[in-house]
């Protein structure tokens, strides 16, 4: 019981560092310290979960081994990538890491769905809704961020498909239908993976028509998407650190997206519909 309380307090400390870190990041003098503060809070949350989370028991040595291995691999690759990247290539790096976060949220939803299959639930299934939304937003954020990364790296060319907006609308209706159907008729493994597929395609087509100069705005938007996906994870586990971190980024990211649009003298709808994104791509790149 004591360890559980310490775990909750660690999450409280982590949440506080996220809030203060974000606040400090928005002032030039304290920005760097704010980043380090949030990183320290993140370290506390991860360590506390590893050491204090209640569900562990004997015979899970393999699980611990894999977690440590995953943490080590992620740390090494992440550090190397972040250290090596050129200063001019920073935005696509942010986009790449953002996509990784989205993928993480989607993968969590997939495993939780497997567990959920065995549960008998009647009536409104809030947990399923949270899972489906986490999967949807996480995978849209993943595939969208990867396209944004590819476009900024110059690996993917700007290409507007015929009827792109109409197709996007159709996909959006499809995912809404898939979620609504499962809410009424109960969870269905096939439809779950169809939802995953459609969400990935939607993410690609969502970013595809947007011009290169508008990309930072889109990355910021996808960033807040991932935040929301993380928050759904927090809802699933009743985890306050995930909830605060996710929601904070979700709302702050949305406001930041709007501020960035304003700084470029564009409206968000304008950017998203790609109305003249392609044509201004060369002229408005001032950063």
């Amino acid at each position: 019981m004591i360890s559980l309380n310490i775990l909750e307090i660690s999450y409280l400390i982590a949440s506080l560092t996220f809030i203060l870190g974000l606040k400090m990041l928005s002032h030039p003098d304290s920005a760097r310290k704010g980043n380090l503060l949030a990183a320290a809070g993140m370290g506390i949350a991860v360590l506390a979960t590893l050491v204090l989370y209640q569900d562990f028991d004997a015979g899970k040595g393999l699980n611990y081994g894999l977690i440590f291995l995953g943490l080590v691999i992620g740390t090494i690759i992440g550090t190397i990538m972040a250290k090596k990247v050129q200063m001019t290539a920073m935005p696509q790096m942010v986009s790449f890491f953002n996509g990784m976060g989205g993928a993480c949220a989607a993968l969590i939803a997939i495993i939780e769905f497997q567990h959920h299959q065995h549960a008998e639930i009647t009536g409104f299934d809030g947990e399923l809704l949270v899972m489906l939304l986490g999967l949807l937003i996480g995978s849209v954020s993943f595939s969208g961020s990867m396209i944004a990364y590819g476009k900024l790296e110059g690996k993917i060319k700007d290409k507007v498909l015929p009827m792109n907006q109409a197709v996007n609308m159709l996909l959006l209706l499809t995912v809404t239908g898939l979620i609504a159907y499962q809410m009424f008729a109960g969870s269905d493994p096939v439809l779950f993976y169809v939802l995953l597929g459609v969400a990935l395609i939607y993410g690609i087509l969502f970013v595809m028509p947007i011009g290169g100069a508008d990309m930072p705005v889109v990355i910021s938007l996808l960033n807040s998407f991932t935040g929301i996906a993380a928050a759904f994870g927090g809802f699933l586990y009743d985890n306050k650190a995930m909830l605060t971190g996710g929601i904070l980024v979700g709302s702050a990211g949305t406001i930041l997206t709007i501020l960035m649009c304003k700084a470029m003298n564009r409206s968000l709808t304008n950017v998203l519909l790609g109305a003249f994104g392609g044509s201004t791509a060369t002229s408005s790149k001032s950063g």
Binding site: A14, F18, T49, G78, M100, A230, Y237, L248, G250, S251
Partner: protein, 105 residues
């Protein structure tokens, strides 16, 4: 309808949390200068890497003979850690660059 209300009722604490955190997020960054837009985006990107905590919980809950969960969870831990570490290091490098320049208004 009643079931939905029940669900909200049992999770009321979380719903409060949600709403307050949304307002806080808006409030916290509302006065950011344009020069800090990209570092702030990058910092926020690192913070939502907290989703890695969820990946660790998934792994701790998975039974050792559930290989599908272990493999997917392992991947989740890797990509989540990438998000956290990469995010913070990139942000730090960006802000380091700001320091060296003479201050702009």
């Amino acid at each position: 309808m009643e079931a939905i209300l029940n669900y909200i009722g049992t999770n009321m604490e979380m719903v409060y949390f949600l709403i307050l955190a949304i307002l806080l997020g808006v409030e916290v960054i509302s006065n950011v200068p344009a020069i800090l837009h990209t570092p702030l985006m990058s910092g926020a990107n690192a913070i939502h890497g907290v989703v890695v905590v969820g990946a660790i919980i998934v792994m701790l809950q998975a039974s050792p003979d559930n290989y599908l969960a272990l493999v997917v969870g392992f991947l989740a831990v890797i990509v989540g850690t990438l998000n956290v570490i990469g995010g913070f290091v990139v942000t730090d490098r960006m802000l380091e660059m700001f320091k060296k320049k003479p201050k702009k208004s």
